[in-house]
Every structure is written in structure tokens, then in C-alpha cells.
């Protein structure tokens, strides 16, 4: 049963941040609640004040320009991101990821800010956004700050956010020319959360050499993992099937997966090997076509 709380509904971000500052660790922030309400029901989260950000439309936006890249407001729902023509054009990997996230119902109400803040190791957006080099903007009464999304995650269900901070915005830099991105999660049934997942973004130069690679493993550890040894295999080379496979092997070594009822740690490593190989190839094919 959910612990009784006092419900606060700020009318603006400013008001929300003031409330957060007032109630410090007696409170929690809710937005879409698609993850939060489950843990509240289980008694894992019990607070005296709940601050509802769902109505903060000022944080629901998708802004894009070729120079600044993409800016997603924290209360933008997954469904809006999924349906965005702008995102489909410039970051189709985000569209593809959202199409497979949970269910339509969850996407209709759940938000990108809430998803990222919840820090579920099996979450879909984080690995993809990290592979795109995303940053996250946090706000508090004291002021705003921006950090790389990669550094945002510190432990299972834990982030670098202070108690008085909320997510304001996700920033994705414009993709350099000849960049491709791909994401795949492995699940037993469609749209289910991933047993593991791999996001890969690669960039090629005019000569067909890989100049950058960001490979991020999802649900392969307590937080999203940059498979840096896999990236090392690729950077500076002209990519071939052999290298894709090698990157896969290296990524499996970077992973720190658990064994649970869905998969042994060994099998998770095996899946990472296969998915990395496939996603790097897919991203590379995108980057180098035309």
C-alpha cells in the first residue's frame, strides 16, 4: 500500500523547485509515475510529500536545429517523442527505441525525464542517448547544471541528482555527417524490457575510416556501460565484418552482467557479443551509405 502523502502541484518550474528546496528529503517528485507508482505501492518509496510535475507543460517540448541539436523537455511523453517527425528525421534511432518501449499506454503518460531519473538498469532511452553523446540538464532552486548523461548514472536506481534537483531537459548534440546509430534489446516477447541491450553510434570520415564509436550496453551492469574496449577495436579503422565480430567479443568483456531467472551472466555476455556485432554493423551501414 502506498504511504500517505501530501500532494503538491506546482504551477511552474520555479514553484516546483521552491517546493523541492522546502521539503528536501521528505518529498519525491512524480511525473508520469509509470515506474514510481509501482515502487511506492511496494513500499520501497515512502514519502510525506509528493510533488507532481505532470502538469508542467513548460517542460514539454521538442526543439531542434542543426547547430544546437535536439532539446527534449523533461515532461515530454514517450509517445510525443515517438511520433515526432523532427526526431524521426534527425535521430531515427530514438524513434525506433521509443516504438519498442513498454506499451502505448505507458508511452502516452510516461515521460523522458521521469524515465531517465528512475535509472532502471533495463531502461531503453539511457543507452541510446548516451551513445548519441547526450547531456542532461538538472535544475534546482540554486540554479541549473548540465552534465553528460553517461556520468549521470551512479548505481542501480541511483543518479547524480541532488535531493533538490529535477531533470529539466535532455540535450542531444547534432549528429556529425556520416554518423549512424542503432539500438536493439534482446527480449523473449516483443516490446518487453531487454534482457540486455546494445546501442551503437559510429561515425565515418570521407575515406571510410571510423573516427568515433560509442557503444553502450544496457542491462549489462547496474548502470549503462560504455563498452570502451569494443570502441577501441573500431576507431581508426575501416570496418569489416571481422571487426564487428571482434567488437562484439570485446563488448562482452566490458559487460558486468548478473545471472537471474531470465539469463545466466554468461548468456548475457553472449547476447552482448551478438548484439554489438549486429548494431555496430547496422550503424556503420547507415553511416557509410550514400
Amino acid at each position: 500500500m502506498i504511504h500517505d502523502f501530501n500532494y503538491l502541484k506546482p504551477g511552474s518550474v520555479k514553484e516546483a523547485l521552491a517546493m523541492l528546496a522546502d521539503h528536501a528529503d521528505e518529498c519525491k517528485v512524480i511525473c508520469g509515475g509509470q515506474s514510481l507508482l509501482i515502487v511506492m505501492r511496494q513500499g520501497l518509496v515512502a514519502v510525506d510529500y509528493l510533488i507532481d510535475l505532470k502538469g508542467l507543460n513548460e517542460l514539454s517540448y521538442i526543439k531542434y536545429d542543426d547547430k544546437e541539436g535536439l532539446k527534449l523537455g523533461a515532461t515530454t511523453t514517450h509517445r510525443i517523442i515517438e511520433k515526432s517527425k523532427v526526431i524521426k528525421k534527425s535521430y531515427p534511432v530514438l524513434t525506433a527505441m521509443e516504438e519498442k518501449l513498454a506499451s502505448i499506454q505507458v508511452r502516452n503518460w510516461g515521460t523522458i525525464g521521469g524515465n531517465l531519473a528512475h535509472a532502471d538498469a533495463a531502461g531503453d532511452p539511457a543507452p541510446v542517448l548516451i551513445s548519441l553523446g547526450a547531456k542532461i540538464k538538472l535544475g534546482s532552486k540554486k540554479g541549473d547544471r548540465v552534465m553528460s548523461l553517461e556520468e549521470f548514472y551512479t548505481d542501480l536506481f541511483e543518479t547524480a541528482m541532488e535531493h533538490d534537483e529535477i531533470v529539466l531537459e535532455v540535450q542531444v548534440p547534432p549528429a556529425p555527417p556520416k554518423t549512424g546509430s542503432a539500438y536493439q534489446k534482446f527480449n523473449l516477447i516483443e516490446n518487453d524490457q531487454g534482457i540486455v541491450a546494445v546501442a551503437a553510434t559510429v561515425t565515418a570520415d570521407k575515406g571510410g575510416v571510423c573516427t568515433d564509436a560509442k557503444i553502450v550496453l544496457g542491462n549489462a551492469g547496474v548502470i549503462p556501460i560504455r563498452a570502451k574496449s569494443a570502441e577501441k577495436v573500431l576507431i581508426g579503422k575501416k570496418l569489416t565484418d571481422k571487426l564487428f565480430a571482434e567488437a562484439g567479443e570485446a563488448a562482452a568483456g566490458d559487460a558486468d552482467p548478473v545471472s537471474d531467472i531470465h539469463s545466466s551472466a554468461d548468456f548475457r555476455r553472449h547476447l552482448i557479443k551478438v548484439l554489438t556485432k549486429r548494431m555496430v554493423k547496422k550503424a556503420w551501414d547507415q553511416a557509410t551509405k550514400g
Binding site: H3, K9, G33, L37, R79, I104, V106
Partner: protein, 161 residues
């Protein structure tokens, strides 16, 4: 804890409720307003039996606080018919036998209806995805997809004289 006085608009009727803010929308609909068509089948936002429409979007009412739904237009399965005339999706469910025990049916109808409102000329894949968030243990889903397809094709469109 301070109770909240809110107004919920459900099936175009306004209801005034005085509730503990932790009340879920599904609880407000079922227990406070008394509309029991919407069901609950799990505690993990997995089964979809509680699906309602909020501003034409299919949403699981077990993971929305009632207070969050104030000011929105909520439609439940009871709100699909108009003056006793069944909505096309309801007629299609009858024709295709898209229900057996019926416990998931309210949620399925809402997911189907919300999908049909926002998607024209859907593919079969899209129709299947429309109800992917709803579990049915009885039908094997295909009859529900057939019902959606029939409505999408215009089988139940009113013939204008």
C-alpha cells in the same frame, strides 16, 4: 495527509470527489464513482485491464493518480456507447467474438478505440501493437485484431442517406 477535493470528468459527466491524494485513477473510477467496467489484473502496470482513455490517449489507470486526471476528459468502456447505441468497435467485438471471459475486454476496447481514433489505414502490425499492452488469457488476440481491422476498413461506418 490532506484530502483533496477534485472534479473528474468521466464519460462526459462531472463527478466531485473528496479523496486521499494517493487514490489511483482506477480506484476513483471503480470505488468512488462506481463504474466497475474498468478492471485491475496486476500490480505492475503490465496487464492493461485498467486501460481508460484520457484525452483520447489509452492509458493504464492503475498508474495515474486520480488528482493528476483532473481537468482531463476520461472515457471508460461504459462511455463508448451513445444513448444505447454501441460504438463500431463494440459491434465489431460482438461480430468477431473478440472476448471470452470478458475481464480484459474493457481495456481492450479502449486501447482499440484510442488506436482507431488516431490511426487511419493501419497495417496489421500496427493493429497488433495497439493492444500489445493488454493481456488476454482467453482469446489469443487474433479475434480482437480482426475486430479492429473491420472497423478500420469501414465496416461499421454509418451509411449517410
Amino acid at each position: 495527509m490532506e484530502k483533496k477535493l477534485i472534479t473528474l470528468t468521466v464519460n462526459d459527466i462531472e463527478y466531485e470527489l473528496y479523496i486521499n491524494p494517493k487514490t489511483l485513477l482506477v480506484e476513483a473510477i471503480r470505488d468512488h464513482i462506481g463504474l466497475t467496467g474498468t478492471k485491475r489484473g496486476c500490480e505492475t502496470v503490465s496487464c492493461g485491464a485498467c486501460t481508460v482513455m484520457i484525452d483520447d490517449m489509452a492509458i493504464k489507470s492503475c498508474s495515474v493518480l486520480a488528482v493528476q486526471a483532473e481537468g482531463r476528459r476520461i472515457i471508460t468502456a461504459e462511455g463508448l456507447e451513445k444513448n444505447g447505441v454501441l460504438a463500431p468497435i463494440q459491434k465489431a467485438f460482438l461480430d468477431e467474438g473478440s472476448y471470452q471471459c470478458g475481464f480484459c475486454t474493457s481495456g481492450m476496447l479502449i486501447s482499440s478505440e484510442a488506436f482507431l481514433r488516431e490511426t487511419k489505414n493501419p497495417t496489421e502490425e500496427q493493429m497488433k501493437e495497439a493492444i500489445e499492452g493488454n493481456i488476454c488469457r482467453c482469446t489469443g488476440y487474433n479475434s480482437i485484431v480482426r475486430a479492429i481491422a473491420a472497423v478500420a476498413k469501414g465496416k461499421y461506418a454509418e451509411v449517410k442517406s
